[in-house]
């Protein structure tokens, strides 16, 4: 490797990979992963009934991790956030709508944004009544603090997935309110997501025509690998992928999509490029082992394609950009939806993703907004 002046000149003259045409840069996006944050816990807790406000003050939450209501580790950056996303007015990243509008929604031409509230863990609370009350409070907070103040935003119905009757009551309370776009479930659950315990939730999702959204991560009381907890954040980060593989496999093989053919599932922040190899292997094994799961009447890959949508961020970055496009072709451009993860540190800028996807305007528009517009029925 030479380090002479001419090499330096070449490097400096090299077009930046994110540089895109003016026309493409103007394309609007639907961001399928925006994290709203409460400026203070009271912002959310004020929506609890009095009994549970008092409970929260006295006992706080009990969920499956140490140090409740905290991040167990900073994950690369304080509050997992882009260092430039702390609002100038104070408070946590993602807590100030005006700053979010300026830094992201307006600056990046966001037509619609799906809210993914991650804090306070209603879905993982062990006190189920408190969990249900908290889910209701998080949902009220999303509407009052976000969706009502910016019509581009859509809320996700947060529920207590370990107790489906409470989850269904919350879904029924919100059903028909188009300010909610989907039902949000934590991908870390007490049993694999395909188990029948969770089917009543899927039945309700179908009845009310709401997709499910499962965003990677969750509380650390669930081991992220079959052998427990990894030593490094970079390892834990990769368990986001293996978690998605397990989740799809469980839902497909248990027969969820035979039982609920209308169910649609969005996998958020788990990547995309692994999907073809998962489909190949599931199909191969199914052909040999189908007598074990005779309830499956189609190739596993067909269930995967028909029922799962995946979001782009964090975009896979192979050295050769053509590999990414080929991989997206195999996954299916009709199942990939743009996301940024704002304000988290591994945020993807629309212009960067557009620059990587030289696929023609029709497919590009599908990924940036068309697939999400269709799935969520956004107008």
């Amino acid at each position: 490797m030479c380090c002479g002046a001419s090499m330096t000149q070449d490097l400096l003259d090299r077009p930046a990979p994110q540089r895109v045409g003016a026309r493409e840069a103007q394309l609007g996006v639907i961001d399928c992963d925006i994290h709203p944050q409460a400026a203070s816990p009271q912002d959310v807790l004020q929506f609890l009934p009095e009994r549970w406000r008092d409970y929260a003050k006295t006992y706080s939450g009990l969920y499956r991790q140490a140090l409740a209501d905290t991040l167990s580790h900073p994950r690369m950056a304080p509050d997992v956030a882009r260092a430039d996303s702390w609002p100038p007015t104070g408070g946590l990243p993602g807590s100030d709508l005006a700053f979010m509008q300026k830094q992201h929604l307006d600056a990046n031409n966001v037509e619609f944004g799906m809210l993914m509230p991650l804090n306070r863990g209603p879905g993982n609370q062990r006190n189920l009544e408190y969990g249900a009350a908290l889910a209701g409070a998080v949902n009220d907070w999303q509407i009052a603090h976000w969706v009502e103040r910016d019509k581009r935003l859509r809320a996700s119905i947060v529920v207590t997935q370990e107790h489906p009757p409470f989850a269904i009551a919350e879904i029924e309370k919100r059903a028909g309110d188009t300010r909610f776009a989907q039902i949000m479930l934590p991908p870390k659950s007490l049993e694999p997501q395909g188990r029948r315990k969770y089917w009543p939730i899927y039945e309700a999702a179908c009845a009310y025509k709401l997709p499910l959204a499962l965003h990677v991560g969750g509380v650390n009381g669930y081991a992220p690998t079959a052998s427990g907890w990894p030593s490094y954040y970079i390892e834990e980060q990769h368990t986001n992928v293996t978690g998605m593989l397990s989740l799809i496999t469980s839902m497909v093989i248990e027969g969820v999509f035979e039982q609920f053919p209308a169910l649609k599932v969005v996998l958020v922040e788990g990547g995309v490029a692994w999907a073809p190899s998962l489909k190949w292997r599931l199909d191969k094994h199914w052909k040999r082992l189908k007598s074990e799961a005779p309830h499956l009447r189609r190739l596993p890959s067909e269930y995967v394609h028909d029922h799962f949508w995946m979001t782009t961020q964090p975009l896979d970055e192979p050295d050769d950009g053509a590999d990414l496009i080929e991989m997206f072709e195999m996954v299916g451009f009709d199942r990939i939806m743009f996301s940024t993860d704002y304000p988290h540190w591994d945020f993807d800028e629309p212009k960067f993703v557009i620059g990587k996807l030289r696929i023609g305007e029709e497919k590009l528009k599908r990924v940036l907004s068309g697939n999400a517009r269709e799935l969520y029925g956004l107008k």
């Binding site: 330096t8 490097l11 990979p17 260092a83 540190w345």
Partner: protein
């Protein structure tokens, strides 16, 4: 092409260990002070264009083998505010991908106001005073 001398900042605005973002001739530039020496980098990460000026200033973490760690050159690297790509503040060289990636580095120097006032120079936001010292970039 001849370069133009730009007054980028007053020296006392950027104490050792700190940084400041300035706009010069339409470019965002991050100025850094490492123990009295000034450096200027384009404030745009070559990866996704995140601001370097908003990132953390760090040292170099290295290991000869698992378990043998050392931190050196403390305060001489900046980590992009978005994805944490690390750059040598002195050269703009990327630490994770030195062969292919660098951020634009500009020559920064200190000049006393008494010398500058004779000109020529461009001061977009500063009225130059004889008794002050300034960070100067030629571009």
């Amino acid at each position: 092409m001849s370069k133009t001398r730009h007054i980028a900042a007053r020296v006392d605005e950027i104490p050792p260990g700190s940084r400041k973002k300035v706009a010069i001739a339409g470019r965002d530039i991050a100025l850094f002070n490492i123990a009295g020496d000034f450096f200027a980098l384009g404030d745009k990460c070559p990866h996704e264009s995140g601001s370097l000026c908003a990132g953390r200033i760090i040292g170099l973490a290295e290991a000869d083998e698992p378990g043998k760690y050392r931190l050196s050159r403390d305060g001489e690297f900046v980590k992009c505010s978005w994805h944490g790509w690390e750059f040598d503040i002195r050269t703009g060289q990327s630490w994770c991908d030195p062969a292919n990636t660098r951020v634009r580095a500009y020559e920064a120097s200190i000049e006393p106001g008494a010398a500058l006032i004779k000109g020529p120079y461009v001061a977009e936001t500063y009225a130059v005073r004889v008794e002050e010292n300034y960070v100067v970039i030629d571009l």
